[in-house]
Amino acid sequence: MATPPITNQIRTLRFLAGEMTQAELGDRVGVTRQTIAAIEQGKYSPTLETAFRIAQIFKKPLEDVFQWQGN
C-alpha cells in the first residue's frame, strides 16, 4: 500500500497539548486509538471530517496540522 502524500504534526501537537495520549485524542475525535496511530504514522489519510475534528481539538487551522506533500 502506497504511503499517502500527507504529513502531519499530530505527535508534536499532542505533546504540546500536555502529552495528550492517542487514546484521549481518539476519544475526543470519535475514532479508535489505532486510527489515530495510523494517521500519525502516515499510514492512513483521515476523512475530511476527521481531519477538521483533529484540527479543532488542537485549535489550529487544518494546514497547521496536515500538509500535502504530493505533486
Binding site: M1, G30, V31, T32, R33, Q34, T35, A37, A38, K43, Y44, P46, T47, E49, T50
Partner: protein, 154 residues
Amino acid sequence: MSYREKVQWASLATGLLVWGIYFAHFAVSLAAGQPKPGDALGGFISAVFVLVILQIAAIIAIAVHRPSEAELPADPREREIEGRAAVAGYIVLCLAVVTVMLATPLLTVAGPAALGQPGGPAAAMLVGNALLAALVFASVVHSVWQLVLYRRQA
C-alpha cells in the same frame, strides 16, 4: 489491536474451525462412497448452530475485555477497511459461483455416477455443498483481507 480487528480474528478462527471440520467429514463420507443427504443436512445445521454459539461467545469475551470500544460504532477507517474487504469478498464469491455453475455437469452427472448413487439427492447434495464452499471461501477472503488491511496500518 482494536476491538473490531480482534472480532475479525475470532470470526476467521471459528469459521475455519467449524467449516474445516464440516467439509472434512463431508470429504470422508465422499471418499467412503457413502454420502447421505440427510447426514449432510444435519451436519450443516449443526455447523451453523455451533458457529453462531462460538462466535457469540468469542464476541462477548472480547467485549467484556474492552467494553468501552465494543459500544462505539465503527470509525471511518474501520468502515473503509470493511468496505474494501467486502468488495474483495464479493468478487471472490462471484468467481466461485460461476465456477460452481460451470462445474454443474460434473456435480450433477459424473459425481453421483462415481458415487454409485441416484442422481437426484446426491446431485443436490454435491451442488449444495459446492455453493456452501463458495460462500465459506468468500467469507474467509473477506475476513483475511480485513486483517491484512488492519495489519498494514498497524
